[in-house]
Amino acid sequence: MTTMTQTAPLVRVEGVTKRFGSGDKEMVALSGLNLEVREGEFLSLLGPSGCGKSTALNIMGGLLTASEGTVTFSGEPLTEPSRNIGMMFQQAVMFPWRTTLENVLLPVEIFGEKKKDFIPKAEELLEMVGIRDFRDSYPWQLSGGMQQRAALCRVLLHDPKLLLLDEPFGALDEFTRESMNQELLRLQDYATSTAVLVTHNITEAVFMSDRVAVMSARPGRLVDIIEVPFDRPRRPELQTSTEFIKLVAKARQMLELQ
């Protein structure tokens, strides 16, 4: 099932089961999920809607606790959110009463640090995603894609070791989504962090990842892991190559077999 890892994994999810509710209303979202995330890799979680991908991600981020099983992060049991883990959600979650820059600096305020110390870094990140000119604009003056770019800057500001991304670009149109994915790969490389991306898009999963973890329908568990061997940086043309199409077909088959 899982492939052997050379170094100790950054995240180890072992036999994680998650139940919501109790009694008659009990619902099993995850059932015995095993997963390892290697240091520095880009891993996608691919699975049908409702199979527990967000639940799994929230458990890895310490937002939810597992009903059974364990999660370790850097070898330590994970029981609560960590500063070393950055999360991005389907919506950008920009506070409309804050300017772009103020939104990006939100973690600084929460961590009780000096904003002044982080402004240059925040501006550099905004520059990298091409929205530096909008630093003093409010979120409602930005497009959906620009808001997600800002959210990306916010999550990268403190160089998290692990990025947990729950369909961050799912609400965007196809074109914006593709360019955001490129942006994400570039920035992940720049920040040298490890990333776990939840998606239902098979092509996207294969294009972005070093490995694609395919999950079963609810209650979710791991079906198999597909290794994606292509070099980086990956260019959009890759998606038309035969090997790429073969891998996509393989992932599709795994999803459909269930």
Partner: protein, 281 residues
């Protein structure tokens, strides 16, 4: 802006300056005045179908204005009532806001006190007023307390429900940053709730005015409500109506003031349906 709004905006922009005032909503407000006045005038002065004790003529009310406003100690009475309203509103809104924050943070506190606080709101001012008079007398303090009781609930209940409006994703973001409950409250929940809280403040301000006046009616040594009672017992209906118009004015000023503050505070989201101007978002 929607398409129609854009078109409307273009139409406004391209129309000659001198005609712009024709689109002012205040023209509609002003148009109402002659209509009301003429109906009033027809019913009283012209047809004489309503006895003056029920509804005085517009002329007599007009004539009563200088008499009422120029009466000895009138400004003291106005000041008394304004103090009661402002004091009661400030006290009630503050208590309502903090109670809302407190109860929103604890399910146990909610279960214990929410029904009780809601029941308290159901006790009418008229019933409470004699008790408060018996406890702390006829003075301004009792009226402030009365107005505060009348208005706290609107602010309390809107604060409580507004604080629950934060998006689950936003709450998760704060959690993922390990924000404390307090940080989540101040940086997320309260700003999210502000538009709703301002609705509560508008409502609370009117109930504070009602609370103050009703309690003056029940028993007071000064204030506009007290003055009204005196005019009524002297069968000076015209003067009585003058004070009704003064209350209308007070209500208007209070509404516009709160709206103005809201505009400053909640600059990112303005309620489209409760605002009194035509400005575009």
């Amino acid at each position: 802006m929607t398409r129609t709004e854009v078109i409307a905006q273009i139409a406004i922009d391209s129309s000659p300056k001198k005609k712009r005032w024709l689109k002012s909503p205040y023209l509609l407000t002003a148009a109402l005045l002659p209509i009301i006045l003429s109906i009033w005038w027809l019913a009283t002065t012209v047809t004489n179908s309503v006895p003056a004790i029920l509804l005085p003529t517009p002329e007599s009310v007009w004539a009563a204005f200088p008499r009422v406003l120029g009466a000895n100690g009138f400004s003291t009475q106005v000041l008394t009532t304004l103090t009661e309203i402002a004091g009661g509103f400030a006290l009630g809104a503050t208590i309502g806001f903090f109670l809302g924050v407190l109860l929103s943070s604890s399910r146990r506190l909610r279960a214990a006190y929410l029904p009780f606080l809601s029941a308290l709101e159901a006790i009418p001012t008229v019933i409470l007023a004699p008790i408060i008079i018996a406890w702390i007398g006829f003075g301004v303090e009792g009226k402030i307390l009365q107005a505060a009781i009348a208005c706290f609930y609107a602010v309390f209940i809107t604060t409580l429900s507004g604080l629950g409006l934060a998006e689950p994703n936003a709450v998760n973001l704060m959690k993922s940053l390990r924000a404390s409950k307090w940080q989540t409250m101040v940086k997320l929940r309260i700003p999210t709730a502000l538009p709703v809280i301002f609705g509560g403040l508008q409502l609370g301000a009117t109930t504070a005015i009602i609370g103050a006046i009703v309690s003056e009616f029940i028993g007071a040594t000064g204030g506009l409500g007290y003055l009204m009672l005196r005019y009524r017992s002297g069968f000076d209906t015209a003067a009585y109506w003058v004070i009704i118009f003064l209350f209308l004015l007070i209500g208007l000023v209070v509404y516009l003031t709160i709206w103005y503050i809201e505009r400053r505070f909640v600059f990112w989201r303005r309620s489209e349906v409760t605002r009194p101007d035509l400005e575009k978002q």
